[in-house]
């Protein structure tokens, strides 16, 4: 049994069976944002609707976080990428793949993964990205 780490960020299973990020679209200027906003950052409009973004995109950049807040011992390094979604916005998320298999320009799709270093129940999951064509863990 998997449960999302936080509500309102993503749907566990969208129409295509992949996790879908929940983005906002401004009814006034059309600007999209993730995480979803209540007021538009571009035009300050207040009529925003939340919609699901298809879980496909391209890696814009990536890194491996090897320490955080001075913690190194017993720290589990994790890969984070910025991904340009097909919905037309850049988002950040964990990558469930070995660093040597990640590259700028790579096609990825969404998956689910545990939150590293957070001391949470392994059934608590967040969205992540995996190289397109691979199964989720």
């Amino acid at each position: 049994m998997q449960t999302p780490v936080v509500e309102g960020l993503f749907e566990m299973s969208g129409g295509d069976g992949l996790p879908h990020l929940l983005i906002s679209r401004c009814g006034q200027c059309g600007a999209v944002a993730f995480p979803a906003r209540k007021r538009c950052a571009a035009c300050c409009g207040t009529s925003l609707v939340v919609e699901e973004a298809p879980g496909e995109g391209t890696v814009y950049s990536w890194t491996v976080i090897r320490e955080l807040g001075g913690h190194r011992a017993e720290f589990e390094p994790y890969v984070v990428a910025q991904v340009d979604l097909s919905a037309g916005l850049r988002v950040q998320g964990l990558v469930d793949a070995a660093p040597e298999t990640v590259a700028i320009g790579q096609r990825v799709r969404t998956g689910l993964t545990a939150v590293p270093n957070a001391g949470m129940d392994p059934g608590v999951v967040t969205y992540c990205f995996v190289p397109a064509g691979e199964g989720t863990r």
């Binding site: 890194t63 976080i65 090897r66 955080l68 807040g69 913690h71 967040t126």
Partner: protein
């Protein structure tokens, strides 16, 4: 608006000061700045204190150390730009005509603002959910943010990690001439590349150190400063503060905000990049110095790394950056950093920077950005 001069600067060397409280560190820097201006604490009519965290009214504790004169003291927390924001507030207090003498101070002790590894356990609050949402997107230390920017820049412009490392090496060399700098031992490109990896491709020397320290400046109306015979007099030609918009044209919000802030500052000062002789920049990470050099108009986008490689940003080069060692080597205790930049700029413009002196320096630019979206730029000139 009245014109404003900087008549005194003071600093406590950046590094480790476990034996002094925040209030004591600040009082030492303010006392040095007042001494530099041949003034006393009783002469100050207001004080603005840049500090990140530090408990309630840390700047007021600085004042309590120095004596209860009743002056207004305002604490300003604007992340890395806190000290620069305090400097601007002191400038505004004089420029508006309200007071003739105001102090800008900055204080900081590392560790006070750094978060724990795990999300806080106060379940159910909005802050807890916001924190979890951050973790759900891949918890990102500052080094991670700039690792993403570094890797993309290497992809877009063919910049190499060796070129980025040259920024750290250059700024360490500048710091070796600054007794107030936190890291002064010379560094090589090979040592930068071989150091511990923090966030690929950035190793430790690509990232500024945390530490303790304080810095302060005494500001005065230019009319009064001239009447009192201060010289050589350093005046504030531009003071500009912006938060981001979505109107940027590069891939970096900090670089875009820097460009817009800098354009306003050049207009306010009636100067352009050609009139600037030295720059203190928010080089918390090596890639930043290169990006902001471009945003400030010293070269085209994509040319910054070649400026560093050719030595043009070194003391003695075309436009020296981070002449005191920058955040990377002078250090970055958050609150005082923007005022350490003022300290360095004023010494340079007076011709008092010793063996790191930029020959003939007449105008200097100081730039800080802060997390959350703050950019502050000041242009100082030798009058």
């Amino acid at each position: 608006m009245r014109r404003v001069a900087v008549v005194g600067v003071g600093m406590v060397a950046f590094g480790r000061h476990p034996e002094r409280t925040l209030g004591e560190l600040g009082a030492d820097a303010v006392t040095e700045a007042l001494g530099d201006a041949s003034l006393g604490w009783k002469d100050a009519r207001s004080m603005f204190c840049g500090v990140v965290g530090g408990g309630m009214t840390p700047g007021t504790r600085v004042g309590n150390e120095l004596g209860l004169t009743g002056l207004p003291i305002v604490n300003i927390d604007n992340a890395s730009a806190s000290g620069s924001s305090a400097f601007r507030a002191a400038y505004m207090d004089i420029a508006s005509g309200r007071v003739d003498v105001s102090i800008a101070a900055g204080i900081g002790k590392s560790g006070r603002s750094l978060g724990d590894l795990r999300p806080p356990a106060s379940h159910g609050t909005a802050e807890y959910r916001a924190n979890l949402a951050g973790w759900a997107q891949g918890a990102m230390p500052p080094a991670g943010v700039f690792a993403l920017r570094s890797r993309r820049r290497m992809h877009d412009f063919g910049c190499t990690i060796e070129q980025l490392a040259m920024v750290a090496v250059k700024n360490r060399r500048h710091a070796s001439f600054n007794p107030y700098a936190q890291l002064r031992k010379p560094l090589t490109v090979e040592e930068v590349l071989a150091a511990r990896m923090i966030a690929d491709p950035l190793t430790v020397p690509h990232c500024c150190p945390v530490g303790d320290g304080a810095a302060a400046a005494v500001l005065m109306s230019e009319d009064r400063a001239r009447a009192l015979g201060y010289g050589p007099l350093v005046t504030i030609e531009a003071s500009v503060f912006r938060t981001p918009t979505l109107a940027g044209d590069t891939e970096s919000q900090d670089a875009d905000t820097t460009r817009l802030t800098c354009m306003e500052a050049y207009a306010e000062a009636g100067m352009g990049p050609k009139e600037i002789d030295l720059v203190q920049v928010h080089d918390a990470f090596t890639v930043e110095e290169i990006e902001y050099c471009e945003s400030m108009g010293f070269c085209e986008v994509g040319e910054g790394e070649r400026m560093v490689e050719r030595g043009e940003m070194t003391i003695g080069g075309k436009i020296p950056f981070s002449t005191d060692g920058g955040l990377l080597s002078r250090g970055h205790p958050l609150g005082p950093t923007g005022l350490a930049q003022v300290w360095e700029t004023v010494l340079q413009l007076r011709g008092q920077a010793g063996n790191r002196q930029v020959e003939g320096a007449r105008a200097g630019l100081a730039h800080m950005v802060g997390v959350g979206g703050v950019c502050v730029i000041h242009i100082l000139r030798r009058g």
